[in-house]
């Protein structure tokens, strides 16, 4: 032995004789700065390129062979002196969310999931920590996650994800304010760094890693201030030193949200003061993210934070008025001079309180049952468990063309039992169509229109233009808005029967 170096000779035991050195090297080594030759006379070093062509990852992919043409497609790649990251997405979409980590080119045995670190929702993430930026346990099969290094690693990793998300966001070239917010959140969601993500919110609750703190500071928020509707970051809102922040939750679908923003902006912008901010929140805000965000950003300068309701927005216009036709409305129904934007609609403004001896977890079907019972439209004996203990309030638009015609014809209607019955049923139908239901929308439109024609025929009035197509009606445009949006503030409250 003349030159420096080391030779280790293992005299193999029975277990050792079964070892496949080639497979073992390929399993453990994912990248090496030193060439490795396999075989005493090998002239070419082994080639290492950690991709889904890796034997183990092929095995992973084979678990999905029942999915036609399943494969991993490289989505993003990043490398610097400390870290190397590759994101592969599954094609077709499959919610895999797995990460494999190597440290200094050697595989860490454990598989990682979204509970450990953010991983794109349909993807496989390969990470090689090129430097000593992770602590491993003695077996080197697990990354230690309770060490300062793990936080530094996460900080760096999240910063890389933020770069990916920023690139995706800019590629979409969003133009409208709403587009900008939606595109930004979609980009964050793709990389599992959305504040609405459960794991993410839990993982970084406290203390925050610097990149996540930066992400939170920079999140674009659609906000209405005295200066108008604009996008500000949480940091910029904090510099406003607001005295009040009001949250307005937007609803799906997109058209509904845009309508809501338009209504709130047009109604509120002139009455705001310099230090007031209305924050439009995304529907992902299930965990009170925005409230937590402002508590964190504003710290001791925390302003009053409240929810902005439709009642706040429409104020006096939601006040019921006494009209002699009130008695033909369903229980809880009142007329009101609704704002033009809600022309022709029926708006629930206070909830029904219902007692039941069953437990239901599905809001939609619960609400549909309550609506049927509340409007007296349920077939006898179909929902014996539901007892209405407090009637909600439904506002009918007194200024709607057709409703106005009926109000003016009050004496005529009340002089005819047949007309009275038809009008009573019409108002029920109108309410039903505006509340959570599982009926076919087209059928409902047909029934409403048909009822109007039948009533006018008996009143010997002119056949009206369809309610759906009337120029002063918001009906067709805002149908979804009422059934999915406005009614949420007046959802039935279901109480279990006290034992």
């Amino acid at each position: 032995m003349k030159k420096p170096g080391t030779t280790v000779i293992l005299v193999l035991n029975q277990e050792g004789l079964k070892i496949d050195a080639d497979a073992a090297i390929r399993h453990y080594v994912k990248g090496t700065p030193v060439p490795i030759y396999l075989g005493k006379d090998a002239t070419e070093p082994l080639h290492f390129d950690w991709t889904p062509a890796d034997l183990e990852l092929q095995e992973l992919a084979s678990q999905f062979r029942h999915i036609s043409k399943f494969r991993f497609v490289l989505d993003n790649e990043y490398e610097d002196s400390q870290i190397w990251i590759r994101h592969y997405r599954t094609v077709p979409f499959f919610p895999l969310q797995q990460a494999r980590i190597a440290k200094q080119g050697f595989l860490v045995e454990r598989k990682y999931g979204p509970e450990d670190l953010p991983i794109p929702s349909a993807g496989l993430t390969l990470i090689n920590a090129k430097r000593d930026i992770l602590d491993l346990d003695i077996s080197r099969e697990h990354v230690k996650k309770d060490t300062p290094k793990w936080r530094v690693f996460l900080d760096k990793y999240i910063r890389v994800l933020m770069t990916f998300a920023r690139r995706d966001y800019e590629a979409q070239k969003p133009t409208s304010l709403m587009d900008q917010v939606v595109a930004y959140h979609l980009a964050l969601e793709k990389y599992n760094i959305s504040p609405g993500d459960y794991h993410f919110a839990q993982r970084f609750r406290s203390p925050l890693v610097p990149s996540y703190a930066e992400l939170l500071h920079g999140i674009p928020i659609l906000v209405l201030t005295l200066q108008g509707l604009r996008i500000l970051s949480a940091g910029e809102i904090s510099r406003m030193k607001p005295s009040t922040i009001k949250f307005f939750p937007l609803h799906h679908p997109r058209e509904v949200a845009e309508e809501e923003i338009s209504i709130v902006t047009s109604r509120m912008k002139d009455d705001m003061n310099q230090r007031e901010a209305i924050v439009f929140t995304e529907d992902f805000d299930d965990y009170g993210f925005y409230e937590r965000l402002f508590k964190w950003v504003l710290e001791d300068k925390l302003p009053a934070m409240t929810d902005l309701t439709w009642a706040d927005i429409f104020g006096a216009e939601f006040a019921p008025i006494d009209i002699p036709l009130d008695d033909l409305l369903p229980d809880g129904g009142r007329f009101a001079r609704l704002p033009a934007i809600l022309r022709g609609l029926v708006i629930p403004v206070s909830p029904w309180v219902v007692q039941t001896d069953k437990e239901y977890f599905d809001y939609e079907s619960n609400a549909q049952r309550v609506v049927l019972v509340a409007l007296g439209m349920a077939r006898a004996g179909t929902h014996p468990d539901l007892k209405i203990v407090k009637t909600g309030t439904l506002l009918f638009d007194a200024d709607d063309d057709f409703n106005g015609t009926l109000i003016r014809a009050e004496h005529l209607i009340k002089s005819s039992d047949e007309l009275q019955g038809l009008v009573t049923n019409y108002f029920k139908l109108l309410a039903y169509a505006n509340l959570p239901h599982d009926a076919d929308e087209e059928l409902l439109e047909f029934l409403v229109e048909n009822a109007e024609q039948e009533i006018l025929h008996l009143m010997k009035g002119k056949l009206p233009i369809s309610k759906i197509e009337r120029p002063n009606s918001r009906w067709s445009k805002i149908w979804e808005f009422t059934s999915r949006g406005l009614d949420l503030q007046a959802q039935p409250v279901v109480h279990p029967v006290a034992s």
Binding site: M1, K2, K3, P4, G5, T6, T7, V8, I9, L10, V11, L12, N13, E15, G16, L17, I19, D20, A21, A23, A24, I25, H27, Y28, V29, T32, P33, V34, P35, I36, Y37, L38, G39, K40, A42, T43, E44, P45, K103, Q104, G105, F106, E109, R131, D132, L136, I138, S139, R140, E141
Partner: protein, 193 residues
């Protein structure tokens, strides 16, 4: 009581200020030393329960070789480095032309489980100028070889030092470590094709 007096003296508290009225109650006032069963600890560190795969020894040897090669590259930047692994009958050979060890270094790290050269003062002194972090850390990986081997032979040479050879066998049964300077030559690791 001597122990208490010792503490007082260490903190320069005059004994007169303290009312020495302390008695041991419910326990024996004698130091208790803990002993570890070396064979059992060695068995644990070999890794039947530590590692999920038996071929982990290959990873550990490659890691050591990578570190040694990178260190040599740092010390002698123009020297090509490489690792070679091959089977020869019932033997698995892993060789590198890394920095190697001299007799004293090798003896020290082979005889003392849990001691790594990369945690040594000598290495730490160089580390700040290096552009790499060693993979090896615990100095225990070599023991994992005994998951697949009954005997381990290590031949090593450091620049300017005599080569040496060590043989480790019967690990867990009193572990026999034999070592000495190597007189016969061996084929040096090819540093490439």
């Amino acid at each position: 009581m001597d122990h208490v007096k010792g503490i007082l003296a260490e903190h320069k508290i005059p004994i007169d200020y303290v009312e020495l009225n302390v008695f041991a109650k419910g326990f024996i006032d004698k130091p208790i030393s803990f002993r570890l069963d070396e064979n059992r600890i060695t068995q644990i560190l070999i890794g039947e329960a530590l590692y999920s795969r038996k071929d982990v020894a290959i990873r550990e040897l490659l890691q050591n070789s990578v570190d040694a090669c990178r260190l040599r590259k740092f010390l002698e930047p123009n020297e090509p480095v490489a690792i070679r692994i091959y089977r020869e009958g019932n033997r698995l050979v892993v060789e590198d032309n890394g920095t190697g060890m001299d007799y004293d270094i090798a003896l020290s790290f082979l005889a003392n489980k849990g001691l790594s050269y990369y945690a040594s003062e000598e290495f730490r002194a160089m580390r700040e100028q290096m552009d790499f972090d060693p993979v090896s850390r615990w100095g225990l990986g070599i023991l994992s070889c005994f998951l697949i081997a009954s005997e381990l032979v290590i031949e090593t040479k450091r620049q300017g030092k005599d080569p040496c050879r060590f043989t480790i066998a019967n690990v867990g049964e009193g572990m026999a470590l034999r070592g000495g300077l190597l007189e016969e030559a061996r084929d040096d690791c090819h540093s490439g094709p």
